[in-house]
């Protein structure tokens, strides 16, 4: 029992009930048990930010939470950003249009972080954007296109 537990949670609006090992990370749960592989693992020790998801409305590293801790939680992953009719979230659209991804491995974490930033601070300066995404590492882009995509989104008055 203590090594395994049943959990009930909502992911991208859908509820799930699963029995999981206690040592399973939330990231591995999303990826391996729910097949939501859009969340990526780049370090599994909290630094790279690729695994960032939204948990009860706040960004969190899914590699640094256990699946059992998500019992009762509301989770949103990159797969949950699209509207029901499949339309991309405006932030996704702007990432695409601004060439804000190259290999795309870091993208899930940046999208979640950027959306949270604009919710907290709808009109950030460029420096504020850079500061807000400084916990997410991207090895390909040099960040410029990502910053531009987020600034473009801030001009759209996303919320």
């Amino acid at each position: 029992m203590a090594r395994e537990q049943q959990i009930k949670l909502t992911v991208n609006g859908r509820s799930y009930e699963k029995t999981v090992p206690a040592r399973l990370s939330l990231a591995d749960f999303l990826r391996d048990h729910l097949h939501l592989t859009g969340t990526h693992l780049g370090c599994e020790h909290g630094v790279c930010g690729a695994c960032t998801i939204s948990m009860n409305g706040r960004s969190a590293r899914s590699c640094l939470a256990l699946a059992v801790q998500a019992d009762g939680a509301e989770i949103v992953t990159i797969e949950g950003l699209r509207a029901e009719d499949g339309t991309r979230h405006p932030m996704q659209q702007l990432f695409l249009e601004n060439f804000a991804l190259q290999c795309g491995y870091c993208t899930p974490g940046f999208l979640i972080t950027a959306i949270e930033l604009l919710r907290d601070n709808p009109k950030p300066t460029e420096h504020e954007v850079r500061e807000a995404i400084s916990g997410n590492l991207c090895r390909c882009s040099g960040y410029q296109a990502i910053v531009d995509a987020i600034l473009a989104a801030s001009r759209l008055e996303l919320a």
């Binding site: 090992p21 040592r23 399973l24 990826r31 391996d32 939501l36 592989t37 859009g38 969340t39 990526h40 693992l41 780049g42 370090c43 599994e44 020790h45 630094v47 790279c48 690729a50 992953t77 990159i78 797969e79 950003l81 699209r82 991309r88 996704q92 990432f95 695409l96 249009e97 060439f99 991804l101 190259q102 290999c103 795309g104 491995y105 870091c106 993208t107 899930p108 999208l111 460029e126 954007v129 850079r130 500061e131 995404i133 400084s134 916990g135 997410n136 590492l137 991207c138 090895r139 390909c140 882009s141 040099g142 960040y143 410029q144 296109a145 990502i146 910053v147």
Partner: protein, 788 residues
């Protein structure tokens, strides 16, 4: 002529939004770790805790008993069944290194794989790894490449005297005489630290047994699918037609995924012997110790100049710490030979000499990483040019203008025997100087200095040899002359075009680039063209993606194939429409007469020719599928000049980049936004090299930088806004394209290094060791004791 609406919109040169990015931005990418096969096992490796030790005994009995464990494989068990990696023959070899896939008898670096554990899931495999007991007999670790020259020094490989894996001496011109007679000689020792490509996704593979018709299917996070296929087959003693290699979405490559490593080959062996699919994806710790490192040079460089600052000759003595094994395929020659050989860069240097060595140590092997050798070579030369300029009281820009190879002097063969042609070195520098308002920057620097602030300005020019054809070896001294790649163009039954090539993308949008090129050649709408680049079962032969070659080769092959396909399409249409072929053109996926009186869509034509072929003469119906190979013969030089302004905090040693202006010549641009992304991304990595990134070992050969909290890559705050300009000139390659993947990292290291050096020199200090950590900066200023 027809009016604009009936002319194809030119795709090359337009920032087409890449469809291939859509799954990635929607979370539907399929990376290696996303692949799951029924019955798949998971692999974890037991890795050496010692830098250098004899393996006395490996006891896996407890591990084998653990529920969920399928197999524990040791190096002994592999002996005689598979062929280990012997270093590639290289003309400049010092001695051979043999790398077993799993260590046998001896381990030679911390992180070397000793056992592979196969289990039901990864966590269980790791549990089992913890249960294996290894009895090591530690040996003295070789951590300093220079000590190998001493008598009785410990050897990494018995076959490599003095631990030399590579050694080369070269001289062109009478260097001694030039130095003796020169007006000015400057000399300096530079150190460039050990680096990591740090792809955000680790490497790894899923090896499948009898998937489809192939005995072995390997999904691998790699840049060279056909090379992997060839060597897998060779080492596993199979026919390569039984092997299929598929490259899933790849989270960065940068050269680190262009080498062949033991772990994936072990997995292939396991899949074959267990008759089950197995997966191994390296975690970050493994990546830090078991995927190739890069750089790690000590460069003693000397420069002779006349009184006006014209460089007369350079001479260098280079030591590269290449780690424990000759990296498979590329050999240990990558950094040592390219650092030395490409030292002259974009400058007119008539005489040069070098002595360079790749020395084995008990550290992770060094392999290719973005711009191999050149950032270190270029930064050293740029720093020394500045020192010479200071001595002669010349401005750094002026002295560079006097030495860059001018357009009038081209084609110019430099002392390293490379020919420079169709490349805008001087225009790049002039534009960067103009756009950065260089003179005002200098004035502001003087004001800043007057008010107690420490500001520096760096200027660096570089040459990037891209798209190497058969005339130039990619791995100097090796047999590797990957000068040919193919593309297949096929008009499908519905009239859409498929482009197939073995040029996988790690985010460079190669598929989109080839679609853009094909669209222009064929008049087919972009949305009617798809591309597949990642599968040996569908792609024609190609060497893969590395060395800034893919745009050149892929586009060249596409152009050649498209020209042939176009002929066939027009001939068929001429027959069907009963008009002379000269009257026909293809516009927006429709073949029509120039006067637009007759037309047939590609869709209709494809359907007719594939499904109602009986009335079509055989000589016309050769199928709409063309494969062409392209070899640009020579490489093309891309170029750039960067101007950087930094502020140095004399109390903390912190360096902040306050202005960054870059001008590049990347030839004909296919997709400007993609090119900009490559350049800015390369600059960011170069800034990382200059300021942050360094892999550190202690004296016992223990790695001290094994997490992302220890090895620091830049975040969005360390990278300033990059102001990017172009001074492009087409290359001689088909389409005029050049590579653009590596140049900017060369310029960035040099320009940032020169800017810091410029700042420190205002206080009588300097710096010759990089990255310029705050501590080294303070040493350079004399605030802390020690050399910088």
């Amino acid at each position: 002529m027809s009016d604009a609406r009936f002319v194809n919109q030119r795709m090359v040169g337009s920032s087409v939004i890449p469809d291939e990015a859509i799954p990635l931005v929607e979370g539907d990418g399929r990376f290696l770790n996303d692949i799951k096969l029924p019955g798949m096992y998971h692999v974890a490796f037991l890795r050496s805790q010692h830098a250098h030790a004899r393996l006395i005994a490996v006891d896996a009995s407890e591990a084998r008993k653990l529920p969920g464990v399928i197999k524990v494989l040791t190096g002994q068990e592999l002996l005689g069944k598979v062929d280990p990696f012997r270093s590639m023959p290289n003309r400049f070899s010092g001695g051979e290194s043999i790398q077993h896939w799993l260590a046998v008898d001896k381990v030679r670096f911390c992180g070397e794989a000793i056992c592979a554990v196969v289990a039901e899931d990864r966590a269980t495999a790791e549990d089992a790894v913890d249960l294996i007991k290894v009895d090591y007999d530690p040996l003295p670790a070789v951590t300093d490449p220079r000590l190998g020259e001493l008598d009785g020094a410990p050897l990494v490989h018995e076959a490599c005297a003095n631990n030399y894996l590579i050694k080369r001496e070269y001289e062109r011109g009478n260097v001694d005489e030039i130095f003796r007679d020169a007006h000015t000689v400057v000399k300096r020792k530079f150190k460039i630290g050990r680096k990591q490509a740090l792809c955000l996704e680790g490497r790894g593979c899923v090896a499948g047994y009898r998937e489809n018709t192939f005995t072995l299917t390997v999904w691998m996070s790699h840049q060279l699918p056909y090379v992997v296929r060839h060597y897998l087959a060779k080492h596993l003693r199979m026919a390569e037609t039984d092997v299929r290699v598929i490259i899933p979405h790849t989270g960065g490559g940068f050269g680190q995924k262009a080498s062949i490593y033991p772990e994936e080959f072990v997995c292939a062996h396991l899949a074959l012997t267990l008759r089950r699919p197995v997966k191994w994806v390296e975690d970050r710790i493994e990546n830090m110790v078991a995927s190739t490192h890069a750089r790690d040079q000590t460069i003693e460089l000397e420069l002779a100049a006349d009184k006006d600052g014209h460089i007369l000759a350079i001479s260098s003595d280079i030591w590269v710490d290449v780690g424990a094994y000759s990296t498979y395929l590329w050999s240990a020659g990558m950094e040592p030979l390219q650092t030395a050989g490409l030292m002259p860069g974009p400058y007119r240097i008539g005489a040069m000499r070098y002595r360079t060595r790749g020395v084995a140590t008990n550290k992770t092997p060094v392999g290719p990483y973005r711009a191999v050798g050149r950032p270190s070579a270029s930064a050293s030369l740029e720093l020394l040019i500045d020192e010479m300029a200071r001595k002669l009281k010349l401005d750094p820009v002026e002295v560079r203008l006097r030495n860059l190879i001018s357009e009038e002097a081209m084609p110019y063969r430099s002392a390293n025997n490379l020919v420079h042609d169709n490349v805008n070195y001087i225009p790049c520098l002039k534009l960067s100087v103009l756009k950065s308002d260089y003179d005002r920057q200098r004035a502001e620097q003087r004001e800043a200095l007057a008010s107690g602030k420490l500001r520096g300005i760096g200027v660096a020019c570089f040459a990037e040899l891209t798209g190497l054809g058969t005339s130039t070896a990619v791995g100097p001294g090796t047999l590797l002359q990957p000068g040919r790649d193919a593309a297949t163009l096929r008009l499908e039954t519905s009239g859409v075009l498929t482009i197939a090539a073995a040029l996988p993308s790690q985010g460079q949008r190669i598929m989109t680039a080839m679609r853009q090129v094909a669209s222009d050649e064929l008049g087919i709408k972009l949305e009617d063209i798809t591309s597949i680049t990642n599968d040996t079962a569908t792609a024609p032969y190609g060497f893969g993606t590395f060395a800034s070659r893919t745009a050149v080769f892929g586009s060249g092959a596409v152009i050649m194939a498209a020209r042939e396909l176009r002929k066939r399409l027009l001939a068929m249409a001429a027959f069907l429409l009963k008009v002379p072929v000269e009257d026909l053109t293809i516009v927006n996926s429709v073949i029509q007469t120039v006067d637009r009186s007759r037309s047939i869509s590609l869709r209709d034509m494809a359907e007719k020719s594939y499904f109602s072929a009986k009335d079509i003469p055989q000589e016309l119906n050769q199928g709409f599928e063309v494969t062409s190979f392209y070899d640009p013969k020579f490489g093309s030089f891309a170029a750039g000049a960067h101007v950087v302004v930094v502020d140095v905090d004399p109390k903390t040693g912190h360096v902040e980049i306050v202005r960054y202006v870059a001008t590049e010549d990347v030839g004909t641009v296919i997709n400007p936004a993609v090119v900009e992304g490559q350049i800015v991304g390369g600059i960011a990595q170069g800034i990382g090299e200059a300021l942050l990134e360094e892999l550190v070992y202690d004296d016992a050969g223990q790695p001290r930088t094994v997490t992302l909290a220890d090895y620091l890559i830049p975040s969005a705050l360390e990278i300033p806004r990059i102001e990017l300009h172009h001074a492009n000139t087409p290359s001689a390659a088909l389409g005029g394209f050049k590579g653009c993947g590596e140049g900017s990292i060369i310029g960035a290291l040099g320009a940032v290094a020169c800017a810091i050096s410029d700042a420190l020199s205002r206080k009588g200090g300097d710096i010759h060791s990089f990255p310029a950590t705050p501590e080294r900066v303070l040493k350079g200023l004399g605030v802390l004791p020690g050399d910088a």
